[in-house]
Protein backbone atom coordinates (compact mmCIF):
# COMPACT_ATOMS: atom_id res chain seq x y z
CA UNK A 1 0.00 0.00 0.00
CA UNK A 2 1.25 3.43 -0.95
CA UNK A 3 1.16 6.25 1.60
CA UNK A 4 1.57 9.91 0.64
CA UNK A 5 2.04 12.90 2.92
CA UNK A 6 1.56 16.62 2.36
CA UNK A 7 2.45 19.97 3.96
CA UNK A 8 3.56 19.74 7.61
CA UNK A 9 2.64 16.07 7.84
CA UNK A 10 5.18 15.47 5.06
CA UNK A 11 7.76 17.74 6.73
CA UNK A 12 7.42 16.06 10.12
CA UNK A 13 7.63 12.54 8.75
CA UNK A 14 10.51 13.61 6.53
CA UNK A 15 9.31 11.96 3.34
CA UNK A 16 6.56 12.55 0.81
CA UNK A 17 5.66 8.93 0.15
CA UNK A 18 6.42 5.34 1.05
CA UNK A 19 5.23 1.79 0.43
CA UNK A 20 4.14 -0.11 3.54
CA UNK A 21 3.02 -3.62 4.36
CA UNK A 22 0.39 -3.43 7.06
CA UNK A 23 0.25 -5.79 10.04
CA UNK A 24 -2.95 -7.71 10.75
CA UNK A 25 -5.90 -5.84 12.24
CA UNK A 26 -5.48 -2.48 10.52
CA UNK A 27 -8.96 -1.97 9.10
CA UNK A 28 -9.64 1.79 9.09
CA UNK A 29 -7.86 5.07 8.43
CA UNK A 30 -7.76 5.65 12.20
CA UNK A 31 -6.15 2.24 12.72
CA UNK A 32 -3.55 3.11 10.11
CA UNK A 33 -2.76 6.47 11.72
CA UNK A 34 -2.46 4.76 15.11
CA UNK A 35 -0.03 2.18 13.72
CA UNK A 36 2.04 4.87 11.95
CA UNK A 37 2.41 6.72 15.30
CA UNK A 38 4.29 3.71 16.69
CA UNK A 39 6.88 3.76 13.91
CA UNK A 40 9.13 6.46 15.34
CA UNK A 41 9.42 9.97 16.72
CA UNK A 42 8.82 11.61 13.35
CA UNK A 43 5.53 9.77 12.92
CA UNK A 44 4.54 10.40 16.53
CA UNK A 45 5.15 14.10 15.90
CA UNK A 46 3.09 14.12 12.68
CA UNK A 47 0.18 12.37 14.38
CA UNK A 48 0.52 13.95 17.84
CA UNK A 49 -2.95 15.40 17.39
CA UNK A 50 -4.70 12.85 15.17
CA UNK A 51 -7.91 14.90 15.12
CA UNK A 52 -6.32 17.58 12.92
CA UNK A 53 -4.81 15.19 10.37
CA UNK A 54 -7.10 14.63 7.38
CA UNK A 55 -7.02 11.61 5.11
CA UNK A 56 -7.90 10.64 1.56
CA UNK A 57 -8.33 7.09 0.28
CA UNK A 58 -7.63 6.77 -3.42
CA UNK A 59 -7.98 10.55 -3.78
CA UNK A 60 -11.33 10.88 -1.99
CA UNK A 61 -11.71 12.65 1.34
CA UNK A 62 -12.69 10.21 4.08
CA UNK A 63 -13.43 10.20 7.77
CA UNK A 64 -11.23 8.30 10.29
CA UNK A 65 -13.60 5.33 10.39
CA UNK A 66 -13.33 4.75 6.64
CA UNK A 67 -12.18 1.21 5.73
CA UNK A 68 -8.87 0.88 3.89
CA UNK A 69 -9.21 -2.64 2.50
CA UNK A 70 -8.31 -2.65 -1.19
CA UNK A 71 -6.99 0.93 -1.18
CA UNK A 72 -4.03 1.64 -3.44
CA UNK A 73 -3.06 5.07 -2.11
CA UNK A 74 -3.79 6.66 1.24
CA UNK A 75 -2.89 10.30 1.91
CA UNK A 76 -2.46 12.18 5.18
CA UNK A 77 -2.40 15.96 5.33
CA UNK A 78 -3.44 19.00 7.39
CA UNK A 79 -6.74 20.82 6.77
CA UNK A 80 -6.66 22.34 3.30
CA UNK A 81 -5.85 26.01 2.78
CA UNK A 82 -6.29 26.46 -0.94
CA UNK A 83 -8.31 29.06 -2.80
Amino acid sequence: MRLVYFAWVRERIGKSEEEVVLPEGIATVADLAGWLRTRGEEYAHAFENPAVVRAAVDRHHVKPDAPIAGAREIAFFPPMTGG
Binding site: R59, T81, G83
Partner: protein, 158 residues
Protein backbone atom coordinates in the same frame (compact mmCIF):
# COMPACT_ATOMS: atom_id res chain seq x y z
CA UNK B 1 -17.90 20.89 -20.26
CA UNK B 2 -16.24 22.80 -17.45
CA UNK B 3 -12.64 23.93 -17.82
CA UNK B 4 -10.47 22.84 -14.87
CA UNK B 5 -6.76 23.45 -14.70
CA UNK B 6 -4.22 22.98 -11.92
CA UNK B 7 -1.07 24.73 -13.07
CA UNK B 8 2.11 26.50 -12.02
CA UNK B 9 1.71 29.24 -14.66
CA UNK B 10 -0.29 32.43 -14.25
CA UNK B 11 -3.63 32.83 -16.02
CA UNK B 12 -5.53 35.60 -17.79
CA UNK B 13 -8.99 36.03 -16.28
CA UNK B 14 -10.29 38.01 -19.26
CA UNK B 15 -9.27 35.33 -21.76
CA UNK B 16 -10.95 32.64 -19.67
CA UNK B 17 -14.15 34.67 -19.21
CA UNK B 18 -14.25 35.46 -22.93
CA UNK B 19 -13.85 31.78 -23.79
CA UNK B 20 -16.90 31.00 -21.69
CA UNK B 21 -19.22 33.39 -23.55
CA UNK B 22 -17.78 33.21 -27.09
CA UNK B 23 -20.54 32.48 -29.58
CA UNK B 24 -23.10 32.38 -26.76
CA UNK B 25 -26.15 34.62 -26.86
CA UNK B 26 -28.12 33.18 -23.94
CA UNK B 27 -25.62 33.99 -21.19
CA UNK B 28 -27.00 36.91 -19.21
CA UNK B 29 -24.50 36.98 -16.38
CA UNK B 30 -20.81 36.20 -15.96
CA UNK B 31 -19.18 36.29 -12.53
CA UNK B 32 -15.40 36.18 -12.30
CA UNK B 33 -13.62 35.66 -8.99
CA UNK B 34 -9.87 36.19 -8.79
CA UNK B 35 -8.00 35.35 -5.59
CA UNK B 36 -4.68 37.14 -5.12
CA UNK B 37 -1.73 36.81 -2.78
CA UNK B 38 -1.67 39.63 -0.22
CA UNK B 39 1.54 41.18 1.12
CA UNK B 40 0.00 41.48 4.60
CA UNK B 41 1.58 44.86 5.26
CA UNK B 42 4.93 43.78 3.85
CA UNK B 43 5.29 40.80 6.20
CA UNK B 44 5.02 38.26 3.40
CA UNK B 45 7.65 37.67 0.69
CA UNK B 46 5.65 34.92 -1.04
CA UNK B 47 3.33 31.97 -0.59
CA UNK B 48 4.40 28.47 -1.54
CA UNK B 49 1.40 26.42 -2.62
CA UNK B 50 1.72 22.66 -2.31
CA UNK B 51 -0.91 20.43 -3.87
CA UNK B 52 -1.82 16.76 -4.20
CA UNK B 53 -1.34 16.08 -7.92
CA UNK B 54 -4.14 14.02 -9.35
CA UNK B 55 -6.47 14.45 -6.41
CA UNK B 56 -6.51 18.24 -6.85
CA UNK B 57 -7.94 17.92 -10.37
CA UNK B 58 -10.40 15.22 -9.31
CA UNK B 59 -11.63 17.06 -6.23
CA UNK B 60 -12.11 20.33 -8.10
CA UNK B 61 -14.05 18.39 -10.75
CA UNK B 62 -16.31 16.95 -8.03
CA UNK B 63 -16.93 20.41 -6.57
CA UNK B 64 -17.72 21.80 -10.03
CA UNK B 65 -20.13 18.91 -10.66
CA UNK B 66 -21.92 19.79 -7.41
CA UNK B 67 -22.24 23.41 -8.50
CA UNK B 68 -23.57 22.37 -11.91
CA UNK B 69 -26.14 20.12 -10.26
CA UNK B 70 -27.25 22.93 -8.02
CA UNK B 71 -27.44 25.94 -10.35
CA UNK B 72 -28.36 26.31 -14.03
CA UNK B 73 -24.92 27.17 -15.42
CA UNK B 74 -23.98 27.79 -19.03
CA UNK B 75 -20.29 27.42 -18.24
CA UNK B 76 -17.74 27.05 -15.43
CA UNK B 77 -13.98 27.57 -15.35
CA UNK B 78 -11.72 26.90 -12.38
CA UNK B 79 -7.96 27.45 -12.45
CA UNK B 80 -5.83 26.94 -9.35
CA UNK B 81 -2.09 27.61 -9.29
CA UNK B 82 0.61 25.91 -7.24
CA UNK B 83 4.24 26.76 -6.57
CA UNK B 84 5.70 30.07 -5.41
CA UNK B 85 3.36 33.05 -5.68
CA UNK B 86 4.39 36.61 -4.83
CA UNK B 87 2.17 39.33 -3.31
CA UNK B 88 -0.11 40.84 -5.93
CA UNK B 89 0.00 37.67 -8.05
CA UNK B 90 -3.07 35.60 -8.84
CA UNK B 91 -3.74 32.28 -7.08
CA UNK B 92 -7.15 31.10 -8.15
CA UNK B 93 -9.78 31.88 -10.77
CA UNK B 94 -13.46 30.92 -10.82
CA UNK B 95 -15.72 31.98 -13.70
CA UNK B 96 -19.42 31.11 -13.84
CA UNK B 97 -21.85 31.92 -16.65
CA UNK B 98 -25.62 31.66 -16.38
CA UNK B 99 -28.79 33.12 -17.81
CA UNK B 100 -29.46 34.70 -14.42
CA UNK B 101 -27.25 36.71 -12.16
CA UNK B 102 -28.07 35.11 -8.84
CA UNK B 103 -27.16 31.65 -10.12
CA UNK B 104 -23.83 32.98 -11.40
CA UNK B 105 -23.08 34.78 -8.11
CA UNK B 106 -24.11 31.92 -5.85
CA UNK B 107 -22.31 29.25 -7.86
CA UNK B 108 -19.07 31.26 -7.88
CA UNK B 109 -19.30 31.92 -4.15
CA UNK B 110 -20.09 28.25 -3.46
CA UNK B 111 -17.16 27.11 -5.59
CA UNK B 112 -14.75 29.35 -3.72
CA UNK B 113 -16.01 28.20 -0.31
CA UNK B 114 -15.60 24.58 -1.35
CA UNK B 115 -12.22 25.05 -2.97
CA UNK B 116 -10.96 26.73 0.22
CA UNK B 117 -11.81 23.76 2.38
CA UNK B 118 -11.91 20.71 0.10
CA UNK B 119 -9.36 21.19 -2.67
CA UNK B 120 -6.06 19.58 -1.57
CA UNK B 121 -3.83 22.66 -1.51
CA UNK B 122 -1.69 23.93 1.36
CA UNK B 123 -0.10 27.35 1.71
CA UNK B 124 3.26 27.98 3.34
CA UNK B 125 4.42 31.52 4.04
CA UNK B 126 7.83 32.89 3.16
CA UNK B 127 8.57 35.86 5.39
CA UNK B 128 9.92 39.09 3.96
CA UNK B 129 12.51 39.30 6.79
CA UNK B 130 13.93 35.89 5.87
CA UNK B 131 12.70 34.16 9.03
CA UNK B 132 11.26 30.67 8.73
CA UNK B 133 7.75 30.72 7.34
CA UNK B 134 4.83 28.71 8.64
CA UNK B 135 2.02 26.71 7.15
CA UNK B 136 -1.14 28.80 6.95
CA UNK B 137 -3.73 27.47 9.41
CA UNK B 138 -7.20 26.63 8.17
CA UNK B 139 -9.72 29.26 9.24
CA UNK B 140 -12.88 28.58 11.19
CA UNK B 141 -14.42 31.32 9.05
CA UNK B 142 -13.93 29.11 6.01
CA UNK B 143 -15.75 26.21 7.63
CA UNK B 144 -18.54 28.57 8.60
CA UNK B 145 -18.70 29.87 5.04
CA UNK B 146 -19.11 26.30 3.88
CA UNK B 147 -21.93 25.65 6.33
CA UNK B 148 -24.02 28.27 4.50
CA UNK B 149 -24.49 25.82 1.64
CA UNK B 150 -25.76 23.00 3.84
CA UNK B 151 -29.19 24.03 5.06
CA UNK B 152 -30.15 20.47 6.00
CA UNK B 153 -28.02 17.85 7.76
CA UNK B 154 -24.22 18.05 8.01
CA UNK B 155 -22.37 16.26 5.22
CA UNK B 156 -21.34 12.69 5.80
CA UNK B 157 -17.77 13.05 4.58
CA UNK B 158 -15.40 15.96 5.17
Amino acid sequence: MPTIRIQREDFDAATEAAALTRGQTEVGAVVTFTGLCRAEAGRLAALELEHYPGMAEEEVARVVAEAEARWPLEGVTVIHRYGRIAPGEQIVLVVTASTHRQAAFEAASFLMDYLKTRAPFWKKEHHADGSAGEWVAAKDADDEALARWQPSAPRAAE
